[in-house]
Amino acid sequence: MQTSNLINWQPDRSKFPDQLADGSFKVDLSSGKYVKIWHGPNHPGVTGNMSLELTLCGDEVMDAKTHVGYLHRGFEKLFERRKFIQCFPTVIRMCVAEPDYNEYNYAAAIEELSGIKIPEAAKWLRMLALEMSRLQTLLRIVPGQGGTTGLGIGVQWGVYLRDLILDRFEELTGGRIYHMYMLPGGVRGLLPDGFRKRMEENLKEIDDFVQRIDRVQYQNAVFKKRTKGIAVIPPEWVDQYGITGPNARAAGFNRDVRKDYPYLNYDQLDFEVNTDNFSDIYNRSRLRWRDLQQTVDLIRQIMDKIPDKGDFKAKTPNVLHWKIEKGETYIRSESSRGEYGYYVVSDGSEYPRRINLRGPSYIHAVSLLERLLKGANIADIGAIMVSLQSCPPEIER
């Protein structure tokens, strides 16, 4: 049972059913001892539009089922009826919180299939947008972890700082949330004048925030009590489930697509992959906090290397009837949640045959979450879900 070793919620276990070796409980619903409730889809502790069907014994979760279907979107099917360029504004909607990885993967897949080489400036600008996207996500999720345990102040700081990054996105890409910046062939603009200066001012504020959130959240007795030793992911699960990103790295796995299979110009950046040796809520969140600092550093490195002039989009055929070479490819990148992959198949026509997203949330919010919730306290569900950092549109695509 993955419960806290600091606080023993129910010392008397005689009223609870026995837990089996696979972590599940023997539940007899007809006994009247259990109650089924729905956690979500509208619930502040749920990461997006999904819900959990919980079977409770007292305040402990005996069984949990993840339900999706509240978004009604079916993007992957939609793409089959869209021309290649028309998919570009839609792919981003498969993850609202961190849309840029969709843009990159899709564009890179098209470029690989059609053999297009993008200009050097476009590579650096794509990296900037990807790291900015990671930064704005982490600014939400790092203090957001505190929010799930009732620590609201960090969230307010994070929202403010994230807004500053969205301001930078706005001036770089023309949009705040959906940037639509990396289109097949390159990007849609160079750095605006004065961008570096304004970005550096924001990064300084984030440097300060990193220290403040450390004192308020990570050196916080209550936060530690609520998160340490809870929802532990044992290392042996990582490959069994296909767990990725901070959730796996906190369990000691040194895995990062940027290092292992470098794309764009990531091999020209100086950084080490953050890892830890015990993947509980606290360590996962702490790892993201370290990732946040690393991202700030990477953005500074990237900004030093972005060319200020030159081409930023390769020549492409007429987009209105762009036929992509027959073939298939899998493109991956490292999002803040882990490996984010796109499988794209073209049959040589003007329309994609198949675009399939392999996002980390399918594992983290379905199979892994269901497993981790067994035996968890109902008050910890929000904290556990946020610590897995899942995104429902990725599941229900």
């Binding site: 028309q86 706005e170 605006p192 530690k224 989009k313 007429n318």
Partner: protein, 599 residues
């Protein structure tokens, strides 16, 4: 163990009590970034209604709608994009794909209205507070292109190779080149509206991209039964309105048409066009002249089942296409390919028969249920300046005719051509070749009333003529052919200061002080041709209605005031091949209607 530090540390958050709030005081009046993708604006004057924005929109948020203040003209569909903000996702692909760069997005992002219908509007037409904003999303850089602005170059014989032979200059596209060129089309259809024959241009260009050239041929034959000919010498009005031409080079629509026709072998035509078994009815139609309009009428009547017979004055079919256009532009075997296919459907042709001389119109009327006349304009016009009656002053049309027939013509060492149209260029370049063959050098000068910028000849004709060694000196009005000892010595000209008056009528003015003499011993006049209506005689002629300008009056089906008699081609419209084809198609429908009504 709980550490004391962990209990005290969170209280450092109280530091913020003494800090200024970070909230934006007036968020509603916050200015968005200069690149922001906000509400649309469309420069109505620049927009041509091509609809590329509507085509690329993945949400179908843009409809092309009619606008009262915009007139439909050649090259402007008269439609303008209407944006529905209930569907728009602000991706700005519409801005990036805009063929004229008229559509932009401003950085305005607030709009409050109680009426949901308001949010569907026509940018640039429905006035909005953001119309005068300068900032917002625009196409990011000159070389950031969704469209292909440059043409795929056509291989041509160099000036050296071509200046002494009548071998076809334009070599035609390879498969790869044609597909690349076809890829540039944005399917707007402005060309379709402008083409006199309304050919399905984007559709047949699509067949080049999709490697389905048989379908391409079928599409072309729906509106044009002379694709090999048109694919070489059409005046391509379609290309002048091509949306790509606004910022780049228009599509080579003519060469793509030629590519489709060239790639389909003549012996496969009947199979491809499903024409090997046409039912024949008992109605007979006579056609006078086997030019573009005559052949077109014959083809469309034949596929409707009529028995068609063409009466041709010369010994071969094609009219002006054969006898007026030099073979380096339009080889005779290509004319034969189109003509032979039409004849293979059962269209009869009687050569060396001039209506009015060998057979009368009345006789035709007796034998046939309807008659179509497309006799063209073969009679050369003269400037009638002093000296123009000299034996070495020629009409271009007559010379071109003789060159086609292979007859010997007089080629002088120094030639002056008067005229600025395509016929002038044709005779200039033909005579240049003959001069080169005869004397080993080219010494020909062409002058026209029109200055270089308003010369009616196709630009490439002028450029190529110069490349081949001809001198083009436009902007001069011929005054007199100087004759000494019964030999032409030159042409006296005066600077032409205007060709048309304020009302657009032909009314040239000359500057008497600016005069010069072009040296030469032969003059060719290529200032236009006239029709020969000598076959219209007596009662028939009296029954025909002519308009104020002396042209025959016909209705929309090219039916004259004599119901069984139809006219078309250069004598009615044009003069060019594509008008003839269009007239012929329409006349065939008119004849069909007329004969069906009289059954």
């Amino acid at each position: 163990m709980i550490k004391l530090k962990d209990i005290l540390s969170p209280f450092t958050a109280w530091n913020n009590v003494f800090k200024a709030p970070v909230t934006i005081k007036d968020p509603l009046n916050r200015e968005a970034a200069p690149r922001y993708r906000g509400f649309h604006f469309n420069d109505i004057e620049k927009c041509i209604g091509c609809g590329a924005c509507s085509m690329i929109c993945e949400n179908e948020a843009i409809d092309m709608v009619e606008v009262a203040t915009v007139e439909t003209t050649d090259g402007d569909s008269g439609l303008r994009p209407r944006v529905d903000y209930g569907r728009c996702c602000w991706c700005a692909l519409c801005v990036d794909v805009c063929s004229t760069e008229s559509l932009t997005m401003t950085n305005e992002f607030k709009w409050v209205s109680e009426d949901p219908e308001d949010f569907r509007y026509i940018p640039g037409i429905d006035e909005k507070p953001w119309d005068n904003r300068t900032e917002g999303w625009k196409k990011p850089a000159p070389n950031y292109e969704f469209n292909q602005l440059e043409r795929v170059n056509m291989e041509m014989l160099g000036p050296e190779e071509r200046s002494d032979s009548f071998v076809e200059i334009v070599q035609g596209y390879s498969k790869e080149q044609a597909e690349k060129e076809a890829d540039r089309c944005i399917d707007c259809g402005l060309c379709v509206a402008t083409c006199p024959a309304h050919m399905g241009i984007p559709e047949y260009i699509k067949t080049v991209r999709n490697e389905n050239l048989e379908e391409g041929l079928r599409i072309m034959y729906e509106t044009n039964p002379l694709p090999e000919i048109c694919g070489r010498i059409c005046t391509h009005k379609c290309e002048t309105v091509c949306a790509m031409g606004h910022r780049g080079e228009p599509l080579s629509i003519r060469w793509l048409k030629r590519y489709i026709a060239d790639q389909n072998p003549a012996e496969e035509y009947q199979r491809i066009l499903h024409s090997n078994d046409i039912d024949t009815n008992d109605k007979k139609v006579a056609i006078i002249g086997s030019g573009a309009s005559g052949l077109s009428t014959a083809y469309y009547l034949r596929v409707l089942g009529y028995q068609v017979k063409i009466f041709e004055e010369f010994e071969a079919a094609g009219g002006m296409m054969r006898y007026g256009i030099p073979s380096y532009r339009l080889p005779y075997d290509q004319i034969d390919k189109d003509v032979n296919y039409i004849l293979s459907l059962g269209v009869e042709i009687q050569y060396n028969t001039k209506v009015g001389k060998d057979i009368t119109l009345e006789e035709l009327h007796e034998e046939y249920d309807a008659v179509f006349s497309g006799t063209g304009m073969h009679a050369g016009r003269s400037t009638k300046i002093p000296g123009s009656d000299h034996k070495h002053n020629y009409m271009a049309a007559g010379l071109l005719n003789k060159i086609t027939k292979g007859e010997e013509i007089h080629v002088a060492k120094e030639i002056i051509v008067i005229g600025g149209g395509n016929v002038a260029m044709d005779i200039t370049r033909s005579l240049a070749r003959l001069q080169n063959q005869k004397y080993g050098e080219i010494n020909i000068l062409t002058t026209s009333l029109e200055s270089e910028d308003i010369m009616p000849a196709d630009r490439e004709e002028v450029v190529e003529a110069r490349e081949e060694g001809a001198t083009i000196d436009p902007g001069w009005g011929p005054q007199e052919i100087i004759i000494e000892d019964d030999e032409i010595k030159g042409l006296r000209v005066q600077r032409c200061t205007r060709v048309f008056d304020e009302e657009g009528r032909f009314n040239p003015k000359f500057d008497e002080k600016d005069e010069k003499i072009f040296k030469g011993d032969m003059v060719v006049e290529a200032i236009g041709q006239g029709a020969d209506f000598s076959y219209l005689k007596g009662e028939l002629k009296d029954q025909l209605a002519f308009n104020q300008r002396g042209r025959l009056e016909v209705n929309e089906y090219f039916q004259s005031s004599i119901p069984w008699l139809f006219f078309g081609g250069d004598i009615i419209q044009g003069p060019d091949v594509i008008h003839g084809i269009a007239n012929g198609h329409k006349a065939a429908r008119g004849i069909d209607k007329y004969l069906q009504a009289n059954t």
